[in-house]
Symmetry: C2
Subunit: 158 residues, 2 copies
DNA sequence: TGAATATAGTTGTATAATACAACTATGATT
DNA sequence: AATCATAGTTGTATTATACAACTATATTCA
């Protein structure tokens, strides 16, 4: 049933989605964050750090992109020698991704750059509200992901 | 000062930013939402609806993109005859954008499609929490925009 | 066991979004 | 009037991206 309140919410949601579109452009894929690494590329490095034995299939789930895109997102990181590839132990079709020494260093530096970015963002949120805000944003993201899974509009990529 | 809590927050924030990157891909620019219009294109139609006399400069602020990109995002909408251009009344360099009749119809249809999408997303959030969640997400977006303005990393585009 | 099927990943190809620089045309300032 | 600023477009290049077709390995089942 549509009442005034829901209808206002829809306009609010439109603003929110526009806002998200604006701010995610801010951590744009192609804008190098630090050490020549973009936010999206850092996501890959970080996923490898956090999951040790990561193969491409895990990664394209994590990034919500097509498998071919995963290959192409990984390849510049291989070329820069931040990541290296090995055949996965129990499946010789699969590829295991690992950080090189250089990759570890870069990951560390970019992470400290990013935490600084996070810190500065959080400065703009009253400390008392911070917890609630982060929880809420997570809830919101989950709600969208749930919907995406149901409707399969994103081909189960999320 | 870095304590355990802040550090945990940083990992939480990393998850959040990854999540945002995933879900915004879900309303991908190039995935037609409805009536052959993408979410991003709808944002343009909607901005024109909401602001009546919109020129390109307003629009590239609204979309947080470079002015040349604005031109190119608008042009398919002109071609599809959803928007039309007129010279702005008090400045003949500027262009005033307006919806055509067809544009109004398409806007209406896509809006109803989008509100349906919003409704389904909100189904995944407990009704009691909904207000807090939306407020919080807005706070979060504003925090990022504030930071972006300060640091000018986004060239004042946000 | 061997054929059929499924899965992991890569490459070919095409498209969309995007930025930056250079440009045109108009407006504002001094 | 000359200079500077602003609105918008176009040239050019890059990146992200998907889909389809492919190779190579695994799994299943008859």
């Amino acid at each position: 049933m549509i009442n005034k309140k829901t209808s206002a919410n829809y306009h609010e949601l439109m603003e929110i989605f526009s806002g998200l579109s604006q701010v995610t452009r801010c951590c744009r894929q192609d804008e190098a964050f630090c050490e020549g690494v973009t936010f999206h590329q850092f996501m890959i490095l970080d996923a490898v750090v956090k999951h040790k034995e990561l193969n491409m299939a895990d990664l394209h789930k994590h990034l919500s992109v097509e498998k071919s895109t995963t290959t192409r997102l990984v390849s510049p990181l291989i070329q820069k020698k931040l990541l290296r590839r090995e055949t996965a132990p129990h499946d010789s079709r699969a590829v295991k991704l690992m950080l090189t020494k250089k990759g570890e260093n870069v990951h560390r530096k970019v992470w400290s750059y990013i935490t600084d970015f996070f810190r500065k963002v959080m400065c703009n949120i009253p400390e008392k509200k911070a917890d609630v805000v982060l929880e809420s944003v997570k809830t919101f993201i989950e709600a969208i992901k749930n919907y995406a899974r149901e409707c399969s509009c994103c081909k189960a990529r999320v």
